[in-house]
Subunit: 472 residues, 2 copies
C-alpha cells in the first residue's frame, strides 16, 4: 500500500555482519533489494520497512548463531513467517536482519495417542493439515491466511473455531525459543498441565518476536468430530443475531463456529462468490459432535435463532457444500474489496465482552455510515471479536487519514466497553499506541520484562511496547 514513504531509522548493515552471516549460511542470506522489500511488507495497510538482509536458517543452531552474530554487532532482528500479519508486525523499523523461518517447516513429532504434534515454526497451517490428515486429528486454529504456525504463535492468532477450541494461547503446549543472547530454551513439557514454575510458554505466545525467536512449537490436536454440519441463517436485525449468539453460548451449546457477517459483507460475498444469500446480517454456524449430538445442537440453535428474528436456515452437511460455505466466509477480505474496485482494505479488529457486542457493532455501523466509507463487518461473534474492512483508495492520503480516525474511534469504543484493541491480529507497530491505553500500569511490567530479556532491544524493536531503550 506504501502509504508513507519508506524510511529507515538506522543505517544499513555493516559489512562484517554480512560476512559472518554468509560464512554461516552461504547463499541462504541475501541483501537483494527485491527480497528485502518483500520481507518488509505484510498484508496490512501500514508502511513497509524492509530489512537490510534476509536470512534463511534451517536449524535451531543456525537461528542461535544468527542471533549471536546480530547481537554482538547490535543489529536488530525480525522473525518472519509468510508475512500475512495485519499490523506491520514484521516491518523492519530499524532495518537489520529478517530471519525467514520458511525453511524450518518440518513436522518433528506426531504423538497421536497424546493428540499432540511438534513442528518447526515455518510450517504453514495448511502444510500441517496435510501432514496430519490421516491421524483422525486436526488443528483447529484458522486465521484467514495460510499463516505459519510460528507467526500464529507469535501473534496469539485465533480464527473461526476459537469459540470452541480456543486460540493459540490454549493450543500451544510448549515452545523452543532462541533468546536475545543466542541461548536456546525449551518451554513446557509433554504433560497436558503443570504447576511447575512460571508459564513461559504463554509469555512467548503473543510476544511477536520481541522476546526471542520461536523456532519450534508443540501443539495440541483435537479429534476429528464424527459429524460436522454447517448452516447459514440470515437475521432480521443485527441485534437479534448477536442475542441469538449470546443465548447459544449461555446455554452451553458447544458450537464449533458461529460467525457474523453484516449486510454489507453479505453483499460482497454474493458478488465475489456468485452466491445469492439474502442481504441481511447473517450467522454462519458449524456444529461438531456425534451424529445425534450435532443434530441436537443444530436443532437447539435453530429454536434460539427463530426466537431472535432468524429467518431460514440453509443447511450444508456434505463436505463439498460445507467447503463452499466456509470458503465464502474465508474469502470475506476479497469479497469485501470487490465492493469498491481498486480499493485496498484497512483491516482492523477489536474484541469486547459479548454483552456489549451488539451495542459496539451498531455504534460502529452508525459511525461508518456517517463517515461515508464502505466497510463490511465480519465477526467471530461467539468471542465478541469483530473486524472492519475499511475500503480506501490507497492513493488518497486524506481518505486514509479519515479511515485511521475511524479505526481509532473503534478502538476507543471497544476499550470503553471493557474490551481490547485487538482480539487476534496483534499489535505490531500499528496498534502500539493503544496498548498503553489498554493496559495502563501493565505496560510498565511488560517493559520491565522486555528490558530484562532483551537488554539491547534488538528483538523486533519498535513492536508491541513503545519507548524501549537499550540498557546495556
Amino acid at each position: 500500500m506504501n502509504m508513507q514513504t519508506v524510511e529507515r531509522l538506522h543505517s544499513a548493515l555493516d559489512n562484517t555482519v554480512l560476512q559472518e552471516l554468509t560464512q554461516l549460511l552461504g547463499e541462504r542470506v541475501t541483501i537483494s533489494s527485491a527480497s528485502c522489500m518483500r520481507h518488509g511488507q505484510d498484508e496490512s495497510y501500514h508502511a513497509p520497512f524492509p530489512p537490510d538482509a534476509v536470512a534463511y536458517p534451517t536449524s535451531n543452531e543456525e537461528v542461535a548463531a544468527i542471533v549471536k552474530i546480530c547481537s554482538s554487532h547490535r543489529v536488530p532482528m525480525v522473525p518472519y513467517g509468510v508475512g500475512t500479519s495485519l499490523e506491520g508486525n514484521i516491518a523492519a523499523l530499524q532495518g537489520g536482519v529478517c530471519i525467514d523461518m520458511g525453511r524450518m517447516n518440518r513436522v518433528l513429532e506426531v504423538n497421536a495417542e497424546d493428540m499432540d504434534v511438534r513442528v518447526e515454526a515455518g510450517i504453514t497451517r495448511k502444510q500441517l493439515h496435510s501432514h496430519i490428515r490421516d491421524t483422525g486429528l486436526f488443528f483447529p486454529v484458522d486465521p484467514g491466511a495460510d499463516a505459519t504456525i510460528g507467526g500464529m504463535t507469535a501473534t496469539r492468532a485465533s480464527g473461526t473455531t476459537a469459540v470452541r477450541y480456543g486460540t493459540m494461547r490454549e493450543n500451544v503446549l510448549g515452545l523452543t525459543v532462541v533468546l536475545a543472547d543466542g541461548s536456546v530454551v525449551r518451554t513446557g513439557t509433554r504433560a497436558r498441565k503443570s504447576a511447575a514454575g512460571y508459564d513461559l510458554t504463554r509469555l512467548f505466545v503473543g510476544s511477536e518476536g520481541t522476546l526471542g525467536v520461536i523456532t519450534e512449537i508443540a501443539l495440541r490436536l483435537h479429534p476429528v468430530p464424527q459429524a460436522t454440519t454447517s448452516a447459514v441463517c440470515p437475521f432480521a436485525t443485527l441485534e437479534g443475531a448477536v442475542n441469538a449468539v449470546m443465548l447459544t453460548i449461555q446455554s452451553g451449546i458447544p458450537v464449533a463456529r458461529i460467525e457474523l457477517l453484516d449486510e454489507v459483507q453479505m453483499q460482497g460475498v454474493n458478488r465475489y462468490s456468485k452466491l445469492n444469500y439474502p442481504v441481511q446480517p447473517t450467522l454462519f454456524f458449524e456444529f461438531h459432535g456425534t451424529e445425534a449430538g450435532a443434530a441436537e445442537q443444530a436443532q437447539m440453535v435453530g429454536e434460539i435463532a427463530r426466537e431472535h428474528g432468524g429467518l431460514e436456515f440453509q443447511w450444508a452437511s456434505k463436505p463439498e457444500d460445507r467447503s463452499r460455505l466456509w470458503q465464502a466466509r474465508h474469502d470475506t477480505l476479497y469479497a469485501g474489496m470487490s465492493l469498491r474496485p481498486e480499493s485496498r482494505a484497512l483491516v482492523t479488529d477489536v474484541c469486547v465482552p459479548i454483552s456489549r457486542l451488539a451495542e459496539c457493532v451498531l455504534e460502529t455501523r452508525r459511525d461508518i455510515d456517517t463517515s461515508g466509507f464502505i466497510v463490511p463487518i465480519v465477526g467471530h461473534v461467539g468471542d465478541g471479536n469483530f473486524h472492519l474492512l475499511i475500503l480506501v483508495d490507497p492513493n488518497n492520503a486524506a481518505e486514509i487519514e479519515r479511515a485511521m480516525a475511524l479505526n481509532t474511534r473503534l478502538v476507543n469504543r471497544a476499550l470503553g466497553m471493557g474490551g481490547t484493541c485487538t482480539g487476534e491480529h496483534g499489535v505490531g507497530y500499528g496498534k502500539i499506541e493503544f496498548v498503553e491505553q489498554e493496559h495502563g500500569a501493565g505496560v510498565a511490567v511488560m517493559r520491565t520484562i522486555k528490558t530484562a530479556m532483551d537488554p539491547l532491544n534488538l528483538m523486533n524493536p519498535g513492536k508491541v511496547i513503545r519507548n524501549i531503550a537499550a540498557t546495556l
Copy 2:
C-alpha cells in the same frame, strides 16, 4: 507434621516496621505466636516456617501500603489464603510478614451475560459457589480443599474437571496484582481473548506470590449443564482402565470428570466412607450435557470400558447419589490415611503424557510395593495427572527419608517420560529442586523475570526458583 525443627533464616521483625503496619492496620496486624505458627504451616509434610507478623488487609490500597512498608524495610512478604497448599508454598522461610487475604473475600461483579465474575483473592471456592448458585453458572476448578481463589490462582490449581473445563490457566481472565514496589496493576480485559501485548495474566497464574500479591481475580464461569450423570466402574487391570480413558479422550467424548482410584485407594474409600465398592482399579466418571448428550456419552464410554476389562457400571443420576459418590472421591486423603492409623500423608503429584500414564503408574506401584509403604494412588487420569499419598509415621525420621526418596524417584520417572514434577500442587519450596531439572535453561529465564520484577527478592522468597539474589 513438624518433621524438621523450625528454623528461621532471618531475624525477627524490626519494631519500626511493626509500628508502621499497626498505624496502617490497627488490630489487623498481629505478632501473636499462635497466629504466626498457624500461618507458617500448610497441609503439606514440609517443615513449617512461621512469619514474624500476620497482616489482614481489606483493600488493594492496604495491600499496596503493606508492600511499600515491607519493601522500604526489606522485609519479606508471603501472601496467604487458607493454607491448604501442599508444597510449603506459604512457609515464611525468611520470616517477615504474612499477608492473609482472608478479609478480602467479596464478590465484586457477576456478569451473567458474559459468564464471568470478579472476586477478591481471599474468597474460597465454596463461598464463590454459594454466591453464584442462582445464576445458572458455575465455576468448575475444584482442588480437593476449599482453597481461596487467590491461592488457586497463585498455584495454578486444577482438580477433577480440568479434563473438560481446564485449569486456573484457562479459567482466569484477568487479575489485579500488587507488585513488589507497591504499584497496583490490572491485567487482562473483560474480552474473552486478546492479542494486545504480553500475557501478564498467565505470568502471574502459577507464580505463587513470587512476582506480586494477587488481590483480585476475574474468572470465567460455565453454564450449569442441563443433565449430569455419574458412574463408577471397576476394571480388571489398571492398564485397562488407563487405556479406556485414553480411548475416551481420543474419541472426543467430552467427559466432565474421569478419575482413577487404584485398588489400595478403593480399600480406603470403602473403609472410610462405609461403602462396598469392589477392591479394583476404578474409574469415577461424570458426564455433562443435554439429557440425550449425557446419556450418549455414558453409553459410548460404557462400550469403551467393556472393551478394556471394565466390570459393571454403578450409576448415580440423583443429585444426592452423585454427591455421595464424589464426596468419596474428594475424601481420598482422609480415606487413604484411614489405612494406617496415626499416619500422616506425604502427598505428591506428577503429570505425564497420557500415553505413558499406565506405564508410569505401574512402575510407581512396583516401586511402592518394594518400598513397603502403604500408598493409595488417585489420578485426574484424563490429564495424565496422579497423586501418591505416602502414609508415614510422622515421628519416624528414617521412614520419612525413605518416603522422600520414593517421591524423588517418582518425579524422575515422570520427567523421564516427558512429564512435569507437579501437575497441580505447585512448587513451593518442596519441589524447588525439581524445577531446575525440568526446565533447564528455562529456569534462567524465570530467574531473569523474577529478578527484574522483584529486585530485592522480598516476594515469597525461596519459592519456585532457587538461588535468587537481591540485585539492588
